[in-house]
Point group: C2
């Protein structure tokens, strides 16, 4: 297979992926913001999320900032911000803040050193816990524990579920295609022989 | 936080998740099928996908079958099949095939011992490569390499991207809520200073 064809295909094969902006602060004081589509739920108690870090290169500011600072934020991208969010994937110089370059507003919470994205309807403050190297292809599973959660009014149902659709939260297919989701159905806890 | 509230909230916090049915064959000849929302792209060359396996218990038929057989399939769930797909999460007895119990049709490819889901618009045959234990919460990152791909006609663009929306592929929020996605936009490779 031709390389680009293969990359596009394999990146589409897992299905829809979340659209998240990861925010970090460098030891030089420069804020970094980057789009990721590999955030995955690892467990609810302790509340752990992970994401896949590609092989480390000259860039990889997100990774370097997380290792140095111990903190990062995960921020949901709404449909209104997908173009700006995608722009964070450009190779900006190290001294450029993607917040400023792409039109997002950094926001800080007391005692937490990574910047949140003010425009995001869901903002999660993560304490870095562990990186697990995947030797097969030199990637890493980066694991963090949820420390802070900021959610726009009206998005949390009485049972704790988030109504992502009410905030027009986006999802991603492949490398560069953004989607908005509409609810089809919610089902009760499944039993072998439902009445 | 009350336990159910916490579980629902944390399961929603990462954003939209893919809706995949993982098919396996037991050494006793019983087919297993189970819904997962944690499949993640690990790399394109080699073409690797992973998923998060919860702590192993009495059940965990998917895990046991993968370890024993070395193969599994990942199948996309379309909007028309979300109720059946969710039903696979019920605790069926070990000798019950979720294919039969939930109304899916197993399909086999030559030389590949795990069952595909005939109703799925995208069917991926995976060779198990490695499990990585996440000691923090006793979960595992299960890694497989893509061996076979079957995709319905008309879903692959000329550049390799999949048009998941044309097959009404579903995604998931939280534990039990299913969505269908509509394309917002596709963007070119991002550059720092676009014209």
């Amino acid at each position: 297979m031709e390389r680009n064809f293969r990359v596009n295909l394999v990146n589409s094969l897992s299905g829809y992926k979340p659209a998240n902006l990861i925010g970090t602060l460098g030891s030089d004081g420069v804020e970094n913001l980057a789009i990721f589509s590999s955030v995955v739920h690892l467990g609810s108690d302790p509340a752990l999320l992970g994401f896949i870090q590609r092989p480390i290169g000259e860039q990889s500011h997100t990774y370097k900032n997380i290792i140095a600072s111990g903190f990062f934020t995960i921020n949901h991208v709404s449909a209104a911000h997908v173009e700006q969010a995608h722009h964070t994937s450009a190779r900006f110089e190290k001294d450029i803040s993607e917040f400023k370059a792409c039109g997002f507003t950094p926001r800080y919470a007391m005692g937490f050193t990574a910047p949140f994205v003010q425009e995001a309807p869901v903002q999660i403050g993560m304490r870095f816990v562990q990186e697990i190297k995947i030797e097969l292809n030199d990637t890493r599973l980066m694991i963090g524990q949820i420390d802070h959660v900021f959610i726009n009014d009206g998005l949390v149902d009485s049972d704790g579920s988030l109504r992502l659709e009410d905030a027009q939260v986006a999802c991603i297919s492949g490398l560069d295609t953004y989607f908005q989701a509409q609810r089809i159905a919610r089902f009760p806890y499944a039993k072998p022989n439902p009445k």
